[in-house]
């Protein structure tokens, strides 16, 4: 082999396994993350995940920002359901400040949060379909995600990175168009969701691809810190909306779907079932909001003048309002000293905010408990010994969002 021109790495001839780089930019990773797979034929022997490609130092940035400017950072965590992140953050601040929000605000938040959950699950479930070769469902449901985004747009003006709401409520009341769109969604979406479900749920090919792949036991899932649909698919009925109700979730009736094997099919089913439950919550919340009449129907925020921009007309005519306006815009409001952990049920699990304040204008330390960062480390255990194509399905059914992984 003396005259060979190609220099192979040491030991590469004797090696019996193949190294495959999956990602960081690969159509199957659905985000910027890398998997270095060691393959024996088509079987996965081991894998090493590399993350951090879109790390943006949010925790550091947050240490120099007043509370309301951090909302825009939370948008960019799980960007498939950013309103949940926004509201989770606002609720954390409200917990620190001791703000009590009116019922109507809670219900409006619930509407938006459940719509986000639907759009989050919709993307994840349809992407699982795409990876199994079924593109139709994905394209079909896109128009209803679009409708959800139009509702966001009507409420806050933005679609993807929403920066929705303020500490204490919303920046303005929901418009009539927003309610019309919610009504339209409630009317049309069940039909579409049913049709989407029928495409997959008893589909022989889909079942063969997803059943018994990427499974995890409840015990291992808990040890790995799984939360959200992935944990419930393994059979643990832990849902923050029930266990630690926030934003008046205790006023709603809904079921928590659970699976039992924790495999890709169960995860898909749990998400699917959750969308139906979310739909029912949106409907209940919408009815409750409609019940507010007269003056009550104009309530869209709590009374927190130090954190809530006053009406423009008041700013020009009243001294108090002018002072608050100035202080808020310049970020000169001191926040109380304290240490608070608040978690909400995000699209893919428990999204926690650990906020430490030393009494300054900005957090002393802010840590995001990002659900998919915690459970992605189980990926190796999930796919060890399985086929490469199953590993791809497992990755998409875990609902990994690169923005949340890397913070």
């Amino acid at each position: 082999m003396k005259d060979q021109h190609i220099k192979l790495p040491e030991g590469s001839i004797e090696k019996t396994t193949t190294t495959l780089n999956l990602g960081p930019t690969h159509p199957a990773t659905h985000g910027v993350m890398q998997n270095i797979l060691e393959l024996d034929g088509e079987r996965v022997v081991s894998t090493e995940q590399t993350i951090g490609y879109i790390h943006r130092a949010f925790e550091k940035l947050a240490e120099r920002r007043p509370l309301y400017q951090i909302t825009t950072l939370t948008d960019r965590l799980n960007y498939c359901s950013s309103p949940i992140n926004n509201m989770g953050w606002h609720m954390t601040c409200e917990k620190l400040l001791g703000v009590k929000t009116p019922k109507r605000v809670d219900y409006l938040r619930v509407i938006i949060m459940e719509l986000s959950r639907i759009s989050d699950h919709l993307i994840c479930n349809s992407i699982v379909g795409v990876d199994a070769g079924a593109y139709t469902g994905f394209l079909y449901v896109m128009q209803y995600r679009e409708l959800i985004y139009e509702i966001y747009e009507e409420v806050c003006g933005a679609r993807l990175t929403t920066n929705m709401g303020r500490i204490g409520g919303f920046e303005r009341n929901f418009s009539d168009v927003a309610f019309q769109k919610i009504e339209k969604f409630l009317k049309e979406y069940p039909v579409v969701l049913k049709e989407f479900e029928d495409l997959f749920i008893r589909n022989r090919i889909f079942m063969d691809r997803t059943k018994y792949t990427g499974g995890i036991s409840a015990e291992r899932a808990l040890n790995y810190g799984f939360t959200g649909p992935n944990l419930r698919a393994a059979g643990v009925d832990y849902d923050l909306r029930v266990h630690q109700p926030y934003s008046s979730y205790e006023d709603f009736k809904f079921n928590i779907p659970v699976g039992n094997t924790g495999d890709n099919y169960d995860r898909w089913l749990v998400r699917q079932r959750e969308m139906w439950e979310s739909l029912s919550i949106v409907e209940q919340a919408y009815r409750k909001v409609q019940d507010f009449k007269g003056k009550e129907a104009d309530v869209y925020h709590a009374d927190v003048p130090a954190y809530y921009l006053p009406e423009k007309a008041d700013v020009y005519t009243k001294m108090e309002a002018l002072i608050y306006h100035f202080k808020i815009v310049m970020g000169e409001t001191d926040i109380p000293k304290g240490e608070v952990y608040h978690a909400v049920e995000g699209g893919n699990g428990e999204l926690g905010f650990y906020l430490i304040s030393d009494g300054g204008r900005t957090p002393y330390r802010l840590h995001f408990r990002r659900p998919c960062f915690v459970y992605y480390q189980a990926y190796e255990e999930l796919i060890k010994g399985s086929m490469l194509s199953d590993a791809i399905m497992t990755m998409s059914s875990l609902n990994l969002i690169a923005g949340e992984l890397d913070a």
Partner: protein, 168 residues
């Protein structure tokens, strides 16, 4: 026996005596600290004790307090007893010259990446960790960016000339 903060505190004090302390309840969550040498003993006790059963590691992170000499870094564990639905917060302080803390990754698989992240940003050396290397930052980085000695740009600085930004 319901799992109240007082009961947890009592059980911990019965087991570890004076070593556990600083019991507080900020915003309703029981918070306490222990010396770093016994962090694994405390975690194991919380995990195994038939009455406590804190078996879910929600979060693990660190905080840097540059002014507290000898206790600059706090490693913070958030634990959850899912069946009783009780959370608690457990802190371990360490000095910054020898930031060695025993790893919890043998007890909780979830701690693996959380500890890597904590090492990455604060330089806490988790003794016994199977793969303690940077996770979000580049491997070549030679400092720990979330420590307080690396300030972000100061918004009040006066050497920034507005003319450079087309203003003033």
């Amino acid at each position: 026996m319901s799992l109240t903060s007082e009961y947890i505190q009592q059980r911990l004090q019965d087991k570890f005596g004076e070593q556990v302390g600083s019991f507080e309840q900020p915003y309703g969550m029981l918070t306490f600290e222990a010396p770093k040498e016994i962090n694994l003993k405390v975690l194991n006790f919380l995990f195994d004790d038939p009455h406590l059963q804190f078996r879910f590691l929600t979060d693990l992170t660190a905080v840097h307090y540059p002014d507290q000499t000898g206790r600059e870094l706090a490693v913070v564990y958030h634990l959850h007893n899912l069946s009783a639905n009780v959370r608690l917060r457990f802190k371990v302080f360490t000095d910054i010259q020898t930031p060695d803390v025993y790893t919890a990754s043998g007890l909780f698989s979830a701690a693996n990446w959380m500890e890597r992240e904590t090492y990455d940003f604060f330089g806490v050396n988790f003794v016994g960790h199977p793969n303690l290397k940077r996770i979000l930052n580049v491997d070549e980085m030679d400092y720990f960016p979330l420590r307080k000695e690396f300030p972000l740009e100061d918004q009040t600085r006066i050497d920034k000339d507005d003319a450079m930004f087309g203003r003033g």
